[in-house]
C-alpha cells in the first residue's frame, strides 16, 4: 500500500507521517517510511534524533562528491541510505542526487517511482513528500493509493492542500484523507472541509505536546503518547491500515 503525505511546508506533514508510520508498525504492518523531502527530516519526528537524521542526509549527499558508494538495487539502497527507526519502521532517505551517474539505480530513483517500487516488496510505504505539489505533478497516473493532505486552517495552507487533493485524485489516488491540523475548534475543521475536496476530513487538535516534541527534536509518540493530537494521529493510522475494515 502506498500512502503519500502532502501539504504546505510547516503544515505538519512530517509529524503526521512519522506517527502514522510507527502506529502502523505497532499494529504489525511492515512499514517503510520514505523521506521524499529534499530537506530530509523525517528521522527527527520518528525519534532517531537530529544527529542521526543529519548523518543520513549527508550520506546521500556524499554521492555527489563521489565519496560514497552507489547502491545497485532497491534493497541495497534501503540498506545503505536507510536506518532502523523505533517500532520496526525502516526509514529510507532518498534526497535527489544532483550529479547522478548515468544508469545508476540509486541515482535514477525518483521519490514518485520509489513509492511504487518499495510497495512492490510487500511493505506499506508512508512517504513524506516535499512541501507543495511538485512531486505529485511528476507522478505517473496510478502512482499512489492513499493521499493524506495535511492543511492548517489558514488560507495559504488550505490553498496548497486543495491543489494537492485535486492533483492526487487526478493521479489516481483511490482515497484522499484531509488532516485538518492544529484545529482549535469545529469551525477550523469546517473551514478545511469546505475548501478541500476529500473523502474524509480528520481534525487534529492544536496541541502543545506536538510543539514541545518539535522543539526537543523528538517523536511525540515517545514524549507524550497520550496527548490529544497524538491519539488522534494514531487513530488516523488505524483507519489507514491495510488491516482496517472500511
Amino acid at each position: 500500500m502506498r500512502i503519500a503525505i502532502v501539504g504546505k511546508g510547516g503544515s505538519g506533514k512530517t509529524t503526521t507521517a512519522a506517527v502514522v508510520a510507527r502506529a502502523l508498525a505497532r499494529d504489525g504492518v511492515p512499514v517503510i517510511a520514505l523521506d521524499g523531502d529534499t530537506n530530509a527530516n523525517l528521522g527527527i519526528s520518528l525519534g532517531i534524533g537530529l544527529d542521526a537524521t543529519e548523518a543520513l542526509v549527508s550520506l546521500r549527499e556524499r554521492l555527489d562528491l563521489g565519496a560514497a558508494d552507489h547502491a545497485a538495487d532497491v534493497d541495497a539502497l534501503l540498506q545503505r541510505f536507510g536506518s532502523s527507526a523505533p517500532d520496526g519502521v525502516r526509514l529510507a532517505v532518498v534526497t535527489r542526487v544532483e550529479r547522478p551517474e548515468p544508469g545508476c539505480p540509486c541515482c535514477g530513483l525518483s521519490v514518485e517511482r520509489l513509492l511504487t517500487q518499495l510497495a512492490d516488496t510487500g511493505h506499506t510505504v508512508v512517504a513524506d513528500l516535499e512541501a507543495g505539489i511538485g512531486t505529485l505533478t511528476r507522478m505517473a497516473s496510478g502512482g499512489l493509493d492513499t493521499a493524506v493532505v495535511v492543511a492548517e486552517p489558514t488560507p495559504r495552507s488550505i490553498e496548497v492542500g486543495a491543489r494537492a487533493a485535486r492533483l492526487a485524485r487526478e493521479r489516481g489516488a483511490t482515497r484522499v484523507v484531509v488532516v485538518a491540523n492544529r484545529s482549535r475548534d469545529e469551525d477550523d475543521v469546517a473551514a478545511v472541509r469546505a475548501a478541500i475536496d476529500a473523502d474524509e476530513v480528520v481534525g487534529i487538535p492544536d496541541d502543545e505536546a506536538i510543539v514541545r516534541a518539535d522543539r526537543e527534536g523528538e517523536s511525540p509518540l515517545d514524549t507524550d503518547p497520550d496527548a490529544p493530537a497524538v491519539r488522534a494521529l494514531v487513530e488516523l493510522a488505524g483507519s489507514l491500515s491495510p488491516h482496517a475494515v472500511r
Partner: protein, 294 residues
C-alpha cells in the same frame, strides 16, 4: 557563518551601497513569507522608495502576508523570445527589458512594494518562458553583472529611481533544494528564518552548508532571523545550534497567528503587535545608520 565578515551587515559590492539585496530562506512554514511581507512594506515606508520583492516560492502565500490578492500569473509569455544559438532557450525581448517587466507585470502592493512572482506551480507545472524571463531579471540584479545583462537597469520609471538602486527582497522557496540553484543569485545577504525546533535548525545548518559550496567567488553573508521564539533563551539556542549570527529575533505572536488564519497581512491586522515591531527592529539593523533615502 559569514562569508564576508563575522558580524554585521554585508560589505558585498552591491550597487549604490544603499540598496539592500536580501534573500529570505528557511524551512517551509518557518515564517519567511510573513516576515518578507511585513519587512518589505516597512522598508518601503522607511525609505520612501519602491521595494522589489522577488517571489520565487512556487506556492501562493506571500500575497496574503502582503495584503494583495493571490495571483498565479507569472511573467507573460510575450515578454520572451527564443534565445540565440548556443545561449539560453528564451531571452527577454528587446522591448521588455527588466525594468519594463517590473513596471508592467509586478503586482502593486501597499506602501510602494512591487511583487514580481515567478509563475506559480499550477497543476500544469511551470511555464518555461516565464521562468527564463524571471531568471533574467535576477541575472540583471546580480551585484557584479556585466553590462550585457544590466540593460535597462539604469533607466528609472517616471519619477522612480533606476531599478539598480531599488531595494530587493527575495522570498525564496522553502527547504534547501532551490535557494542555491539560481533563485538567490541577486542576494548579498541570505537571511535564514529559523524557528526554535530541531527540524528548523537542521534546515538552517544545511542551508549554511550549501551556501558555502555555492559562493562561486561571490561575497555574501548568511545570517539567521529567529522566529516564533518564546524568550531570549530561544534566540541563544538558535545561535548555538545553527552557528549563525542571529540578526533578528521575532517573538511568537498570537496576533500574527490570527492574521494568518484570517488571510490578512500582519501589518494590517496587528500593526503594533510585538512580532511586527521586532521585524521593524530587524529592518533598522540591516539598514544601519544612513542618511534619508537612497
Amino acid at each position: 557563518l559569514s562569508h564576508t565578515e563575522p558580524t554585521g551587515r554585508s560589505t558585498a559590492t552591491h550597487p549604490a551601497d544603499a540598496a539592500l539585496r536580501l534573500a529570505f530562506v528557511g524551512k517551509g512554514g518557518a515564517g519567511k513569507s510573513s516576515i518578507v511581507g511585513t519587512f518589505s512594506r516597512l522598508l518601503a515606508r522607511r525609505v520612501g522608495a519602491p521595494v522589489l520583492i522577488l517571489d520565487s516560492d512556487p506556492m501562493p502565500g506571500l500575497a496574503y502576508s502582503l495584503g494583495v490578492e493571490p495571483d498565479d500569473a507569472g511573467p507573460p509569455t510575450e515578454a520572451v523570445a527564443a534565445g540565440p544559438e548556443g545561449g539560453p532557450r528564451y531571452v527577454l525581448r528587446d522591448d521588455w527589458p527588466p525594468h519594463q517587466l517590473v513596471e508592467r507585470v509586478a503586482t502593486r502592493a501597499p506602501d510602494g512594494v512591487r511583487l514580481l512572482q515567478v509563475g506559480k506551480c499550477s497543476e500544469a507545472g511551470l511555464s518555461q518562458p516565464a521562468l527564463h524571463a524571471y531568471q533574467q531579471v535576477i541575472d540583471a540584479l546580480v551585484p557584479d553583472a556585466g553590462p550585457s545583462v544590466t540593460r535597462g537597469l539604469d533607466v528609472g520609471c517616471g519619477s522612480e529611481p533606476a531599478l539598480r538602486d531599488w531595494h530587493v527582497v527575495g522570498d525564496l522557496p522553502g527547504g534547501t533544494r532551490q535557494p542555491f540553484m539560481g533563485w538567490g543569485r541577486f542576494a548579498a545577504t541570505f537571511l535564514v528564518v529559523v524557528e526554535p525546533t530541531a527540524k528548523s535548525v537542521l534546515a538552517a545548518r544545511r542551508l549554511a552548508h550549501l551556501a558555502t559550496g555555492w559562493s562561486h567567488g561571490r561575497t555574501f553573508s548568511v545570517q539567521a532571523v529567529a522566529n516564533k521564539i518564546r524568550d531570549e533563551a530561544d534566540a541563544d539556542w538558535i545561535a548555538e545550534h545553527t552557528r549563525l549570527e542571529v540578526v533578528g529575533a521575532v517573538p511568537w505572536d498570537a496576533e500574527v497567528a490570527a492574521a494568518d488564519r484570517a488571510g490578512r497581512a500582519p501589518l494590517d491586522h496587528a500593526p503594533s503587535s510585538a512580532a511586527v515591531v521586532a521585524v521593524g527592529r530587524l529592518l533598522e539593523r540591516l539598514l544601519g545608520p544612513r542618511e534619508g533615502t537612497a
